[in-house]
């Protein structure tokens, strides 16, 4: 354990003090005075005899006690001093006292009897994590750990017993949000980005902020990267075992963010595509995880993940068979050869599109089976429409689950986990799988072998939207949409409502993600459909499938296996987290949104208020921009030729009055601002991790045409005291120039390509004393020194998340 006691200092009063990096606690080291004399009384600080003559004057900390004389109270606990005020305490991971707890040592003051009380989101606990409310003997060490965020006060009280020595000492504490320790240097403000995931080819950096950790400036440390451990594993073994080939030593310097390379060439994936690590900054230098160390990862979370090439085949050989169960029950099934050693594995079902065949998706089946999944592609009755397609998805899923004992001679008997199912559908099949889920949830169809809860995730590849989204309703299932901008069939364009697949994405209320791939056609996502790709810079079937395989594997790992280390594949913008196996120059627009049921604070999703100067949260919006408009994300005239009277030009997230997608649009020439005054009930952001928003360049807008490139901008947060913090996110992600496809009007540029930017709130605290518990404004800084100009964008879902 780290003991923060650094030195004892004798004080003039004769008491001694314990100096820690965090606080001094004063205790009297001696009591006493003259022997009791019942003939004397106290007159203030003077002991007087029966005649009124002063016998003794009590000095310094001594007090006069009738019948006793001068007494130095023990202990003296007023005041409690902290070298950093308020003392900063972070939340502790559940079950791990050793993580981020701050030790407070109370030395031997001669007597005990100290009561400890805390007001605020901080616990005082002992080494076992049990609450401590009093200390009956000294010396003692207690630990402070955050239980939330906000101000807290620790009060140490001594009632004095029979003597007039009652006194309180207080210590001001600020429980702060946990900040990640690892990230990467950036060229733009604030010069650093916290990240959770690295590609396996990228170096890992440690970033220690001397502003945040001002109480540690000047202290030496050793930084370790260790394999991720659970809370129980850390409790059992706090030894630090570095995996990088050598822990990094340093001393926290004042000034700017201290950036240290931790791992230059990560290469420990072994037969896997991701690995999780914890980072420990050992301030005690004892090679153990102790209270007072800075940690990133122990417990349910991890410090960072390393992500490999998700398009590479996995470690398992794949077995494949075709079966015929009758009308519309033809299936091709893939599974890992060694599935018996793996135990029951999740099932991934592929429902093809119209005019396609179930035998056209070997690239998905082989890939996912090589990573340990059972994959089944089936005949899909797409000709009549979506309802029939949904039925064949349902019946084929039932069929494989019901017949696993006999399929392939029983090779899969008991080895398909029917409680973990993913549906992947292409085109009409992509809508069909959503319709199938909707039918179960709405009670229109009851499968025999599974329930709606067993459908863990749905993926639609360039789906149609024939039905209203109330009939093809993904409800709250995790949903992933993938499509190509060069699709020549379900083209995603403004002139075809049934092609506007983002309407399904908008309809989903669960966690959802999308990937819109430049230059990919409709049939690039199967083996054998004709080449429909339309537009410039076509990437071809092979490259489209490299990207798709990566996304599908991440989808399966995240939502079927609960492996959150691959969430960044969806949550981060493509240009800021390009897959290792992708060709340099590929362009993909990623969006991500957490489940609505999580009820993260939405600053403005443009759903509830039509006035562009009033946010859906009720916040007042101030806009120093041109052409500000708010409404459904729907191209009004179904033509892409720019027309100022159609401010949602190119938008495809809504088509009918039932669709939910709504947003804002605006433009600027040289610079501009869009600012939201945060309502009081949303001002405390300390419980959240990211500021997120989605935006897209307005297709064929004259400013978009003039810019002819990617677009990003900056964000300034201001707290109630006027303290600012700024992030320019341009090198984390940007909205790509709209795909330069023609048709549907004059000019070039296709449907909207929203990207979601999630800026870690902790990035705003780098070098800034901004108080994120009292956020006042969120401002988008457009153009000027912060990004591209001129520009024209659509904006949506400005919100906080974790």
């Amino acid at each position: 354990m780290i003991d923060f006691c650094m030195a004892f200092h004798l004080l003039p009063s004769g008491c001694c003090a314990l100096l820690t990096p965090f606080l001094w606690v004063l205790f009297g080291c001696h009591g006493g005075g003259p022997a009791p004399d019942t003939s004397t009384t106290c007159d203030g600080a003077n002991l007087v005899d029966a005649g009124g003559a002063t016998v003794q004057t009590c000095e310094d900390d001594a007090v006069c006690v009738t019948g006793t004389g001068c007494v130095t109270c023990t202990p003296v606990i007023t005041p409690l001093y902290a070298t950093s005020s308020p003392l900063r305490v972070e939340p502790t991971s559940a079950g791990i006292l050793r993580s981020r707890a701050v030790a407070v040592s109370l030395p031997d003051g001669g007597v005990g009897g100290v009561t400890l009380t805390v007001e605020g989101p901080v616990d005082v606990v002992d080494a076992n994590g049990s609450p401590v409310t009093s200390l009956t003997s000294l010396p003692a060490t207690v630990y402070l750990r955050g239980t939330g965020t906000g101000a807290a006060t620790l009060t140490a009280s001594f009632d004095g017993g029979a003597l007039p020595c009652a006194q309180d000492g207080t210590l001001q504490i600020q429980a702060i949000n946990t900040a990640p320790l690892v990230g990467r240097p950036r060229t733009l403000a604030p010069g650093w980005e916290h990240v959770e995931s690295y590609r396996d080819v990228d170096p890992v950096y440690l970033g220690l902020d001397p502003v945040r950790y001002s109480d540690r400036v000047g202290l030496p440390y050793v930084a370790y990267v260790v394999k991720h451990r659970s809370a129980e594993e850390w409790a059992a073994d706090p030894q630090l075992v570095d995996v990088t080939g050598g822990a990094e030593s340093g001393t926290l310097a004042a000034g700017a963010l201290n950036v240290t390379g931790l791992w230059a060439s990560p290469d420990l994936l072994e037969d896997d595509v991701s690995a999780r690590y914890d980072v420990v900054v050992d301030f005690g230098g004892d090679g153990r995880l102790d209270p007072g160390d800075l940690v990133d990862g122990p417990g349910e979370d991890f410090g960072f993940a390393q992500v490999g090439d998700l398009s590479m085949a996995g470690p398992h050989a794949v077995h494949q068979v075709d079966i015929d169960g009758g009308a519309w029950l033809g299936e091709r099934i893939y599974w890992p050869d060694d599935i018996e050693t793996l135990g029951p594995r999740p099932l991934i079902v592929i429902s093809h599109g119209n005019g396609h065949r179930y035998t056209w998706y070997d690239y998905i089946g082989q890939h996912l089976a090589s990573w340990g999944y059972v994959v089944m592609a089936h005949e899909n009755n797409t000709g009549p429409g979506i309802s029939t397609a949904s039925k064949t998805t349902l019946t084929n899923t039932d069929y494989i689950l019901a017949n696993q004992d006999t399929i392939a001679g029983g090779a899969l008997a008991g080895l398909i986990d029917g409680t973990r199912i993913a549906w992947i559908g292409h085109s009409r099949g992509g809508e069909g799988v959503v319709r199938a889920y909707d039918r179960i949830v709405d009670g229109d169809y009851t499968p025999e072998e599974f329930t709606a809860e067993d459908i863990r995730v749905i993926t639609s590849i360039a789906p149609t939207v024939f039905n209203e989204v109330t009939d093809s309703d993904p409800h709250d299932v995790p949903y992933f949409l993938i499509a190509g901008t060069a699709d020549g069939d379900v083209n995603g364009g403004v002139a075809c409502d049934e092609c506007d697949f983002y309407r399904l994405w908008e309809a989903d209320r669960g966690p959802k993600a999308s990937a819109y791939i430049h230059g990919a056609g409709h049939n690039d996502f199967n083996c054998c459909g004709f080449d429909d790709a339309t537009g410039p810079d076509l990437i071809g079937r092979d490259e489209a499938q490299v990207l798709a395989k990566g996304y599908f594997l991440a989808m399966a790992r995240v939502w079927l296996d609960g492996d959150t280390s691959l969430l960044d594949v969806f949550r981060r913008e493509y240009s800021g987290f390009t897959p290792t196996g992708a060709t340099v120059g590929d362009i993909v627009a990623n969006t991500f949104r957490d489940a609505e049921a999580l009820a993260w604070p939405v600053l403005d999703d443009f759903q509830a208020e039509e006035d562009p100067l009033v946010a859906s949260s009720g916040a007042i919006v101030t806009a120093g921009v041109d052409e500000l408009a708010e409404g459904k994300l729907e191209d009004d005239d179904s033509v892409l030729t720019w027309d100022p009277s159609d401010p949602m030009n190119g938008m495809t997230h809504a088509a009918t009055y039932i669709d939910r997608g709504a947003g804002a649009s605006f433009s600027w020439v040289d610079s501009g601002t869009w600012s939201l005054a945060v309502v009081p009930q949303q001002a405390d952001t300390t419980g959240y991790t990211f500021l997120a928003f989605s935006f897209a360049q307005l297709s064929r807008h004259p400013h978009t045409v003039a810019l002819e490139g990617d677009l990003a901008f900056g964000v300034t947060l201001t707290d109630a005291d006027g303290v600012n913090a700024h992030v320019d996110f341009g090198d984390q992600g940007a909205a790509p120039e709209p795909y330069q496809r023609t048709d549907d009007g004059l000019g070039a540029g296709w449907a909207d390509e929203f990207v979601t930017v999630r800026i870690p709130l902790s990035d705003f605290t780098i070098g800034s004393m901004i108080d994120l518990s009292h956020l006042a404004t969120v401002q988008l800084d457009l153009g000027g020194d912060h990004g591209a100009s001129p520009g024209a964008i659509g904006l949506d879902n400005v919100e906080l998340s974790r």
Partner: protein
């Protein structure tokens, strides 16, 4: 040939093409069938039970058969959408099932607009027929083959292929 056919692929924004009566060039064969086990007809909104019908092999202009998830014109025989057994692309040999109740010999075979057959009810089918007749669609010459008795839906589909 494929390339030239692809050039005919309708753009998403294009209005549905109009069948002037020449899209379906000939009925190559017509085979009546009866089923031992009926099946629900998914190619119309009413989903009638199919116990018998006619299996047709058509010679169709392939431009009407380019596979699409959006732009697939509905093929009617009379006022009823026909059930497609294959795509017919690119050779133009399209196999369809026509449920009983349709007088195949006296009904025009034609394409109507883009839609999903499962959404087409009897009224919509009648409207499509009237439109086709107004455009000059006529019944095609045909000869009925000897009828066959088949087990079920799957059997008739396989017979067509």
């Amino acid at each position: 040939m494929i390339l030239s056919l692809l050039l005919l692929l309708p753009h998403a924004h294009a209005a549905p093409p109009v069948d002037d009566g020449h899209a379906v060039r000939a009925i190559l064969s017509a085979t009546p069938f009866e089923l031992t086990t009926s099946y629900p007809y998914d190619w119309s909104a009413e989903h009638p039970d199919v116990k018998s019908g006619t299996l047709l092999v058509l010679d169709v202009d392939p431009a009407w058969l380019v596979p699409s998830d959006i732009h697939q014109a509905v093929l009617f025989v009379g006022a009823v959408p026909a059930e497609r057994v294959n795509t017919g692309f690119p050779d133009g040999r399209l196999v369809v099932i026509v449920p009983a109740g349709v007088d195949v010999a006296r009904s025009p075979v034609y394409f109507s607009g883009y839609d999903l057959p499962e959404r087409i009810d009897a009224a919509a089918g009648q409207k499509a027929l009237e439109g086709a007749v107004n455009r000059g669609a006529l019944p095609l010459p045909m000869t009925l083959a000897t009828g066959v008795v088949l087990r079920d839906h799957e059997a008739v589909m396989k017979a067509g292929l």
